[in-house]
Amino acid sequence: MSILTAEQKQIQAQATAFVAKEIIPFAEKFDKAGEFHPYLLDAARESRIFAMAVPMAFGGLEYSALTQAVVLEAWGYGCAGMATTLAASVLSMDSVLVAGTEAQKKQFFDPMVRGEIGSFGLTEPSAGSDAGNGKSTAVRVGDEYVINGSKCWITNGGYSSVFVIYALTDPAAGMKGISAFIVEKGTPGFTIGTVDHKLGIRSSNTVELLFKDVHIPAANLLGKEGEGMKIAMKTLDMARPAIASLSLGLAQRALDECVKHMQKLYPEKAQPGQTLQFKLADMRIEIEAARQLLYHAMNLRDAGLPYSAESAMTKTFSSDVAMKITTQAVQLMGAYGYTSVLAKLMRDAKIMQIYEGTNQIQRLVISRAVLAPARPAVAVQKGGN
């Protein structure tokens, strides 16, 4: 069960209104241009929505996980590209929430509160699904670390003020030698490489990050040396459901557009035949199931309960549903689908199955949990309630 509180409903209404005014009217244009446009940050600045995950103590909105999910769903409904900008910035913050000191939080969250954005830099060409296989290094020299290497497919990279970068402090230790660092934009030696042109989410910025003898203060180390992988995994547990939210928004939009089209096509009968009616019903069922799984995972997180498996499940299920429904909507609408916003939804949906851990990696995690030796049974108390 997942009934939103009055406050959450209000936030949802605000997000929906913002999306209708500032996102939907521009989505097609920026998708076509294939570029991120910073107007989004200006439009969102006053609302501090880019600081929705930042604790109030640091000037943020401190939204619960469920509330964040609701906002991202609304953004995904409008444009998964622009929603990716927000989701990726929250993702970068999550690492600091997981492992940051008070000073680091201030360093990282201040820009967010000002309406700026951040990036999470883990992936490298050799380290996609094999996330621990990165080659970038960070060498301690006095009270500094010197970073060398590169990161790829980094969302927001060209526009972020602050970055969480993962690099090897002990290459011999492999995955246990990875550490996480805060790196600020403009640090000498830190540059942006090629900009990626993608099948979808084209209004989000995806770039390569290049590090050549980049000196950062030792105080920018998040947690301890060697804790990088642990921090990254916790961060991704927190952030993965954001992809479920975006997917859900995409799927809901596809259904709504499809229904709108059907109603135009069959104005008198009000309904197409049962074949199509049932397809619409199935879409609605799948969207609702995806929504409830997401909200449930978020409720678990907000209650402080373990939610790692649910995080993987909701990301996988929602993104598969979004891919299926957007594809079906394009098909059902025929040439209308192929020449309308539906085509964008279908292109956008594809990345949801890939980024923040491919659905294959999620299934690996989930199946391992399923196949793990059963936990010792908890004695059932009898007689009580």
Binding site: T123, S126, G128, S129, D130, N133, C152, W153, D196, H197, K198, L199, G200, L265, Y266, P272, G273, T275, L276, M323, T327, V330, Q331, L332, M333, G334, A335, Y336, G337, Y338, T339, A343, M346, R347, K350, I351, Q353, I354, Y355, T358, N359, Q360, R363, L364
Partner: protein, 378 residues
């Protein structure tokens, strides 16, 4: 009937592969980027006899049949489904004229279509639930001197570049779709204009636009087969469209699965090629199986056509199968290539955008199921 290709059909398939390599590979990326109609390549299609593949020899056709047609379509689609789309919609117009045209109509039109002097286009869809119904429908009014056409045909492929259109129009407003008739209309006819080109997700290079008829006058000899029973023309030609589009889907899917397999062998993660992971193998295996089954299904339907047998139900089954598994071929192969595969610098995103254009169901979207069920329940 044989489900295996004859030697001739194999040779034709090979010639299409060679053609695609020589003429399509060098231009396909640029065409996808600009959306420019590939006039020079279409000339080459004609030179290769691909534009008159199944037309009779007396009209200058190659008389190679429909299995050959789908072989060519599949093999061209492995490189450019957009060019195949141009060829397919031309073929639909040529098919309708050869099948239902009067001797006079055939003699006038088919040699030019076979030689590629004139490109054909088949215009069936309208901005409504069914052709012949609704406000925008193309209406044909009988006048003493012929017929006056007024209304709009929607989403016409080859619009603007075709020289001859076969269009379905409603001849009796009260009877709606039941009174459809097919007309051959010269692209230069007075009162006929081509709307703004649609921006499509893929298949870029194959033009798509509305045709607007503002009292376009055609003679009595323009009506196909001289009859006003166009519903059979529509149904059968759309069935051929289903089969030919299925060949496009399979060509795209085959190219994608081969690319993804090659990629998986070179992409190292977890210290080994991802091709060694069973999860990846399964994705590839499913796509390969879907491709194979669809190919058999569409080839079977084409063989029925070659044998002069009814093929509507088999065509609908292929359409229905690919509505479920067609787009999935690219959804899953892009998945194999992961973050790299999502980048437009890689080939699969173009194929992803293209394949979606070959599995569209068009309005009404439930016609494959209706066709199959009607046959079952008859």
């Amino acid at each position: 009937m044989s489900i295996l290709l004859t030697e001739e059909q194999q040779l034709i398939g090979q010639s299409a592969r060679d053609f695609a390599k020589e003429y399509l590979e060098p231009m396909v990326l640029e065409m996808d980027r600009t959306g420019q109609y590939p006039a020079a390549v279409v000339k080459q299609l004609a030179a290769q006899d691909f534009l008159g593949l199944f037309l009779a020899g007396e009209y200058g056709g190659a008389e190679a049949g429909y299995v050959s047609l789908v072989e060519v379509v599949e093999n061209l689609s492995r490189v450019s489904a957009a060019v195949a789309s141009i060829m397919v919609n031309h073929a639909l117009a040529a098919y309708a004229i050869q099948r239902w045209g009067s001797p006079e109509q055939k003699k006038t039109c088919l040699p030019k279509l076979a030689a590629g002097e004139v490109l054909g286009a088949f215009a069936v869809f309208e901005h409504g639930p069914t052709p012949g119904v609704g406000a925008g429908a193309l209406m044909a009014t009988k006048l003493p001197e012929g017929w006056a056409l007024k209304g709009t045909k929607a989403f016409v492929r080859n619009a603007g570049v075709a020289g001859a259109y076969v269009v379905l129009a409603c001849t009796d407003p009260a009877a709606g779709a039941k009174s459809l008739a097919a007309f051959i209309v010269n692209a230069k006819a007075s009162g006929l204009t081509v709307g703004a080109p649609y921006e499509t997700m893929g298949l870029k290079g194959c033009p798509m636009a509305d045709l607007v008829f503002d009292n376009v006058m055609v003679t009595d000899t323009a009506i196909l087969g001289g009859s006003t029973d166009g519903s059979a023309i529509m149904t059968e030609t759309l069935a051929l469209a289903s089969v030919a589009e299925a060949a496009q889907t399979v060509g795209i899917g085959q190219a994608a699965v081969e690319h993804a397999a090659a990629y998986a062998k070179t992409r190292i993660q977890f210290g080994r090629p991802i091709a060694s992971l069973q999860a990846i193998q399964t994705l590839l295996a499913e796509v390969a199986a879907d491709c194979h089954l669809a190919r058999l299904g569409l080839r079977y339907a084409a063989q029925l056509m070659d044998d002069g047998e009814p093929f509507l139900v088999e065509a609908a089954m292929v359409k229905q199968f690919l509505a479920r598994f067609g787009a999935k071929m690219l959804i899953d192969t892009v998945q194999v290539e992961g973050g790299f595969g999502y980048s437009e610098t890689m080939p699969l995103p173009r194929l992803f955008r293209d394949i979606a254009g070959t599995t569209l169901l068009e309005a009404p979207a439930d016609y494959p199921e209706k066709t199959i069920a009607a046959a079952l329940l008859a």
